[in-house]
Symmetry: C2
Subunit: 331 residues, 2 copies
């Protein structure tokens, strides 16, 4: 295992400490619950938005806490759901008069932790609701889920509910917006390599030198098939066919196109994929009017990428265009 | 070689096409010279800023073209200086009444191409000057350079001259600012793995399973020594010792701290390194007041990182804080 790590058990806390030190004015770190929260949260004039999930998917979700995005994220260890009490304590810390929204990517472990935390919080009189994200078209059920998985498309739901909450929408309206974005968002990914969780010390799965996992999950879960590595254009064809055909997206649609890196793939390759996908969509009559290229939801150092489409209307476009400020930035 | 690629010879043009398609309103792509330029360039009321260098270092430099940063970047192929005529034609396209500044990371191939292009442009009556960047403390001369190499600290020079030019400074003033920032910027990097240029198809160098290259260059050039992989904290100690001792930075200084990923290292590890470095600097009495964590200057999919310090004063701090808009962004 070749990683920048001290004690593997301290991998997540040491990362979180780094995030906090790099953002002293805007973020607060609560070590007891792996919690990164906005320094100005909770605000009683806006819905609080919380996401948990496992670590290892950065920038999701601890680096997307900030104005116009999440109010807090309380991840578990690498690829592990947060313990129920992390979520419960986070909800109590971020409780707002306007309510609390829990964003949950659809994995069994996360659902259990968030369900229990919601129940306990409601017993405390907190107005809290949950929104599930399930954009991954690769498989119906999987090793980690009942139903479809939530993957990189999660970014668009976060962005939309974050913008709506910042604008003062009430909890029902924020949920309406989030469900709407989730309903028009579809993703599929491909892995070129596995990745190595620090505490495990060995790769999550084995792939031959010429093999890829088509439809891979963000924890290295199996996708649709093990295949030989082909050209970038052929890979884009297969990803687009699965994603476009699922909603389906159709000629005349305006869409956001995201090429998300899984961690180990350089951004040059992501832009190469983007150019290919953009032109193929144009040939289908689908116009890309918003572009997202980079790392949004990763699997540690896995080489690979996912392709996400969001069908846009004026409402969604405006929410995605709203300003936001997070730790994950260039300047 | 496991990469998203079609014809390896088209790797750079296909990436550039993707950048242009993703930024139709703000950028223009001139395929003949691998040129990505601002759609509103040249502006006769500001100094034009151009950087070339090889490809494979993205986001440097084709993804940092935009308002408050570069006016254009005309890279060569992967890890190859641009041909002289790319630079010359780019200078002619971006010629401004206020002059043209060429930013050159100090590599022999780049220097030759930019020197010749400057000479030809001057013969055409264009006011053009060159600023060299050489922030890498690892080695004095190297396989690719006479004198120190320019690496990730290049970002701070770009940012500062970009801000000064945007504010209307004349060419001499822009150069003064850039040289000032370069003079207080120091970097050293470490590689955990090699990388594979698409057209080569095999790794640039060999590293044992437990080995690192301390002081590596951004083209995989040798650094100070081949060493055994140690803990993240010990690595930070060695990088800081080299960087801090070089300027030297001293107790009482305020600095910007950049942890730059070399391409294959996940951002979680970069924040872990950041936290360690921030605390060690604080213990030396050096206060980090600006933080930069992510990929700024990469070597394809190389696993590794570099650490950069910039000594801040009010002038440099204001230039780094100025707004900028580039292709490499989250939203």
């Amino acid at each position: 295992m070749k990683k920048f790590v001290n004690d593997p058990k301290q991998y997540v806390p040491e990362m979180l400490k780094g995030i906090a030190l790099a953002n002293p004015d805007t973020l607060r770190y609560v070590p007891a619950y792996n919690l990164i929260m906005r320094a100005d949260a909770p605000r009683q004039d806006k819905v609080s938005i919380i996401q948990g999930s496992g670590s290892g998917h950065e920038p999701a979700h601890v680096m997307t806490v900030g104005k116009g995005m999440l109010d807090g994220a309380c991840p578990g260890d690498v690829f592990a759901a947060p313990p129920m009490d992390y979520v419960y304590e986070t909800v109590k810390l971020l409780a707002s008069d306007k309510g609390v929204l829990l964003l949950v990517n659809n994995y069994t472990g996360d659902k259990m932790a968030f369900d229990m935390a919601q129940e306990l919080s409601e017993a405390d009189g907190i107005n809290v609701k949950t929104l599930f994200i399930n954009d991954d078209v690769a498989v119906e059920d999987s090793t980690w889920t009942v139903g479809r998985r939530g993957v990189a498309g999660n970014f668009f739901v976060m962005k939309a509910v974050g913008a709506a909450a910042e604008a003062g929408a009430d909890l029902d309206e924020v949920i309406r917006v989030g469900e709407k974005v989730n309903s028009v968002t579809r993703t599929m990914g491909i892995a070129l390599t596995a990745c190595t969780p620090p505490a495990k010390g060995s790769p999550l799965f084995e792939l031959g030198d010429d093999e890829v996992e088509m439809g891979v999950g963000i924890h290295g879960e199996p996708g649709r098939r093990r295949a030989k590595l082909t050209s970038a254009d052929e890979i884009v064809d297969e990803l687009l066919s699965a994603v476009v055909g699922d909603l389906p997206y159709a000629a005349g649609d305006k869409v956001a196109l995201m090429i998300n890196g899984l961690g180990g793939t350089p951004i040059s390759e992501l832009y190469l994929l983007y150019g290919s996908a953009h032109e193929k969509l144009a040939a289908m009559g689908i116009e890309v009017t918003r572009s997202y290229v980079g790392e949004y939801c990763t699997s540690l150092e896995m080489a690979g990428a996912s392709l996400t489409l969001v069908r846009l209307d004026d409402e969604i476009d405006a929410l995605l265009a709203a300003p936001a400020e997070v730790a994950y930035r260039v300047f």
